[in-house]
Structures are given as structure tokens and as C-alpha cells.
């Protein structure tokens, strides 16, 4: 019983990371119908930005602020700077192709290349040595019987739920959220509403990348070793989670992320850990086999 609870908490934590990243995939897909394969690497860049901000700007080699202040300023600063990276990618890579009316396939390939450029650019710039993320928060462990929770795990889980609630509010209740949904349906008619399409797209990248930055910072605090390829596998997994949930729907990304977290942790609870990804992805494959549009996805149809 206690093992079960412990597993659930771990699954929630991993699910939170997947969900935070999957939300970024699904936002951009929901608006542009573009699978932004660079998103996993934006998460990686987010972790590095968090590192730079915490050490060289606010921390020991910068302003020398106390830990609580580093956290308080570091989180928004990391999110803003990472959002800047996402917006820059959109501006220099995706927008020119969109202007020329390039087929979506080319934009997706461009996204893949952008991801590789971010990875290898990081490698070239900072070298292959791993970075050790500073400990910004005194670890507190709360135990209930034999189940233990760290304060950091709780923060990660709360952050994921809060992010989902925030994004869900934006997308379903605000005018800019309506504009995002409308762009995905018919980009052509958007300017006829007096709305500049580009600003809606930029806003989408700000949201997606900003929360990838948050995920990067939380991940670096939880697993404080940074390396340039850290975003690749987790990015793929989050992408698959978003697809299984029904890409384009933020509930789907959220549920898909947690689903993947739970499957992985439960597989490891019963099988050798080398089986984890094999069984996890087989289950996801089965879900797509039964419901190809994902859990929350609906097939598009248009009235003529």
C-alpha cells in the first residue's frame, strides 16, 4: 500500500514534467498545426538559462543574492528569457517559411534542425562537461507512515496543475485564447477580425516556451545535472504524450503527460527498469491504435 502511494507521488512528479513540456507542443500545434520538434531543446535551453541566471546573474558569481531571492527572481527571469528563445526561433526560422507559403513538412524539418542547432550550439559554446545546478532550496522531507514527499516534488506537481489551470483559462475564456483557437481553424480570416496573425502566433510561442523554461528550471532543481542532450528524449516523450492525449487540446497534453508518467512508474514497479520505455510506448501505441486522434482529439470536419 505504501509502495503504491510512493509510486503515485513519483508518477505525479514525472507526469508533471511531461505535462509541462507537452503543453508547449500542443499549444503551438493547436495554433499553427506545426509540430515544433525544437520544443524539447527549448526545455533544455530553459534549464541552462535557469543555471546561468541562478549562478552568474543572481547567485554566487553575480549579485550574490540569498537563495529565496534567487528563486523568486529566477523563475520569472528564466521563463521570460526562454520565451525569448522560442519567439526568436519563430521569427528567424518558422515565420520566413510561413511567409513563402512553404508546405508544413518543410517547417517541421526546420523545427527538427532548430532543435539540433540548439543542442549542438550549446555543446560548442559550453563544452561537453556537465553542469551542476546549485541547490537553491533546502530539501524538506515530509513522511507519512513510510511514504515520503520532498517539498520540491510538491512544488513541481503544484506548478504543473497551476500551469494547466492558467493555460486552460487563457485558451477557453480570453479573447486572445479565442484568437489562438481561431487561427488553427482558419488563418486566412483572422486579419478580417482586425487581429494581426503574427501577434497571436508570437503569443503562443511565448506561452509554450515560457512554461518550457519553468519546466527546465524545476527539472534542474530536481535532477541537478545539466547536459546538452537532456531535452531530446524527454522532449520526444512529452511529444508522444501530447499526441496520445490528442494534440492541439491542452487537456489532452495534460492528461497524456500524467498518463505517461504513471505508466512508466508502474512498469518499473513490476518489471526490470530496462523494460520501462518498451512497455510504456507499447501501451501508448495501443491507445493510438484504438483512438488515432488521441484521448481528447476529434477528427476535423468542415461544413461546405
Amino acid at each position: 500500500m505504501e509502495a503504491l502511494f510512493q509510486n503515485i507521488i513519483n508518477a505525479l512528479q514525472w507526469g508533471s514534467f511531461y505535462a509541462l513540456i507537452a503543453l508547449g507542443y500542443t499549444l503551438v500545434y493547436g495554433v499553427l498545426l506545426l509540430i515544433n520538434f525544437a520544443h524539447g531543446d527549448i526545455f533544455m535551453v530553459g534549464a541552462y538559462i535557469a543555471f546561468g541566471v541562478s549562478v552568474f546573474v543572481l547567485g554566487t558569481q553575480g549579485l550574490g543574492l540569498p537563495n529565496w531571492a534567487i528563486l523568486a527572481c529566477g523563475v520569472p527571469l528564466t521563463m521570460i528569457l526562454t520565451a525569448g528563445v522560442g519567439v526568436t526561433l519563430e521569427r528567424i526560422a518558422y515565420r520566413p517559411l510561413r511567409r513563402k507559403g512553404a508546405h508544413r513538412l518543410y517547417v517541421v524539418i526546420t523545427a527538427l534542425m532548430c532543435g539540433l542547432i540548439l543542442e549542438n550550439g550549446n555543446l560548442a559554446l559550453l563544452g561537453a562537461s556537465r553542469k551542476k545546478f546549485p541547490e537553491l532550496m533546502e530539501k524538506a522531507v515530509w513522511t507519512f507512515g513510510n511514504v515520503s514527499v520532498t517539498n520540491l516534488k510538491v512544488i513541481v506537481i503544484v506548478a504543473a496543475f497551476a500551469t494547466f489551470a492558467f493555460l486552460n483559462f487563457i485558451v477557453t475564456r480570453t479573447r486572445i485564447g479565442m484568437a489562438m483557437r481561431a487561427v488553427s481553424y482558419d488563418k486566412f480570416a483572422i486579419p478580417l477580425m482586425g487581429i494581426p496573425v503574427d501577434s497571436v502566433i508570437v503569443f503562443t510561442f511565448v506561452l509554450g516556451s515560457g512554461f518550457a523554461g519553468l519546466a527546465g528550471m524545476l527539472f534542474a532543481m530536481s535532477y541537478p545535472i545539466l547536459e546538452p542532450y537532456m531535452g531530446a528524449l524527454i522532449g520526444w516523450k512529452a511529444f508522444i504524450a501530447a499526441v496520445v492525449g490528442g494534440i492541439g487540446d491542452i487537456r489532452g497534453a495534460f492528461v497524456g503527460g500524467f498518463l505517461l508518467g504513471f505508466i512508466e512508474i508502474l512498469v518499473v514497479a513490476f518489471f526490470p527498469s530496462t523494460f520501462r520505455d518498451l512497455i510504456a510506448f507499447s501501451i501508448l501505441l495501443l491507445i493510438l491504435w484504438i483512438k488515432p486522434t488521441g484521448l481528447f482529439g476529434v477528427a476535423r470536419h468542415q461544413k461546405i
Binding site: G101, R175, A179, R181, A189, P191, L192, M193, G194
Partner: protein
């Protein structure tokens, strides 16, 4: 005194294919002007050029000019045409956002408005009183509306952008006769309140009865123009567009 909207020797291209070969027309404030012609004559192309919609769906202007209150629109962005000039287009095929509810479609069109919440509220009331069906279905996903209701929504949406000049691309398309007369009655009412209207129609009879003036466009050129009664009596126009 300059015209409200004036098109001068406009030539536009889709890729390498020229779609308008130098057309000129004008619309004065408060007028109803119609542009009639067969399929592929360049009617929609003209409206999309005025709205400055970007290629590839819309054409590229290669020569001539589009003036609004004497100022060239060629460097304008399409969203600014709606937001700042209050010149709206109800495009061909309606292009409503089917994944949004009726209400959300209308609300989205208020995105760039800078006037007060009371003005917006008044416009909702006006749209719902012109098209009571939209009010009945305001919570409904707009994809599930009938073709006629979608057309009403498309017009309602343009009104919610607080336009004072509305361009309509075949608003009668797919409408049952009764709904069509409703639609034109609504447009006439708007015009009485000061709305300038530029209307595209394939149904030339209907359009000329409704409009003050008309232009006949054929394969990218204006072939006839004048006040509606004149055009209706023009033997050429009669033969080609009014069924003898």
C-alpha cells in the same frame, strides 16, 4: 472632394497569372454599390485586394492604386484595415470559425476595438435584433449552423468589428429565398443607418434592385457601369447577366 474608396487602374496577379487587367471603380460614403459578373471574372479578387489580404490565397497588386479617403492602402496590413479604417469584408465561403461558438465568433471580432464596452454591447444588440436566429443559437458551435445561419454570423461578425463600410462576397450564396430576402432587408436597414456597402453578387437581378450603382466585371475588366436602373436596361447586360 475625394471618394471614400477609389480603385485606379488596378492590376493584380496570382503568382504569374494576371487576374485583374487594370480596373477602376469608386464608392462614395453611404452608397450601395454592386459588382456583378460571372464566376472567375475577378469579383472576389477585387475585394481581397482592397482588404489587403496576403498571398497566396489573395492576389498581389502589381500596378495601380487603392485609395481610401485619398490615402493609398497598398502599404497597409489587413488587420489595420479593419481595426483602424473600419472597412470590413465578409469573405466568400463565409469563413466563420467553426470550432468556436456563435457568441465567441462575435466576440472575437471585437478584438481590436478601442471604443467603450457600451458601444460593444449596443452592437451585440443590433446584430441579435437583425438576426434573431443567432441569438437563439449563441451557445452553439458555429460549425453546426445551417449555411444561411453561417452567412448571418459572417455578416454579424463584420458588424461586431464596428465597421462603417462593409464588403460582402455573395451573401446570398446557399440561402433559401426567404432567408435571402431577410438578409437583404437587414443590409438595407444598415445602409439607412449610414453603412456604406460594396456587394458582390452572381444574382445580378437581385443585386441591381438592391444597389444604387453597379459595375459589371468580365475576365478582369470592367465592361459596363452606371446607376442600377441604367444597367438593368442595358441590352448587353440584360443578355449576359439578367437572362435576356
Amino acid at each position: 472632394m475625394s471618394k471614400l474608396l477609389e480603385i485606379k487602374d488596378l492590376k493584380v496577379k496570382y503568382g504569374n497569372i494576371e487576374a485583374l487587367h487594370g480596373i477602376s471603380l469608386y464608392v462614395d460614403k453611404g452608397e450601395i454599390v454592386t459588382l456583378i459578373g460571372a464566376n472567375g471574372a475577378g469579383k472576389s479578387t477585387t475585394l481581397m485586394s482592397i482588404s489587403r489580404l496576403p498571398p497566396p490565397e489573395a492576389p498581389k497588386v502589381v500596378e495601380g492604386d487603392i485609395l481610401y479617403n485619398g490615402e493609398s492602402l497598398l502599404e497597409w496590413n489587413p488587420d489595420k484595415i479593419v481595426a483602424d479604417l473600419h472597412l470590413a469584408l465578409v469573405p466568400e465561403g463565409r469563413r466563420i470559425f467553426g470550432n468556436l461558438s456563435v457568441e465567441e465568433n462575435l466576440r472575437l471580432a471585437t478584438y481590436a476595438r478601442k471604443d467603450t464596452a457600451r458601444d460593444v454591447e449596443r452592437d451585440y444588440k443590433r446584430v441579435y435584433s437583425l438576426f434573431p436566429r443567432l441569438h437563439e443559437r449563441r451557445k452553439q458551435q458555429s460549425e453546426s449552423l445551417s449555411g444561411g445561419e453561417q452567412q448571418m454570423l459572417a455578416v454579424g461578425r463584420a458588424l461586431m468589428s464596428s465597421c462603417n463600410f462593409i464588403m460582402l462576397d455573395e451573401p446570398s450564396m446557399g440561402l433559401a429565398p426567404l432567408l435571402m430576402y431577410d438578409m437583404f432587408r437587414a443590409l438595407k436597414e444598415l445602409n439607412r443607418e449610414g453603412m456604406t456597402i460594396l456587394l458582390i453578387e452572381q444574382n445580378a437581378n437581385l443585386a441591381l434592385k438592391f444597389a444604387d450603382r453597379g459595375y459589371v466585371i468580365d475576365t478582369g475588366e470592367i465592361v459596363a457601369q452606371g446607376i442600377s436602373e441604367q444597367l438593368m436596361d442595358d441590352p448587353e447586360v440584360k443578355k449576359a447577366y439578367l437572362g435576356g
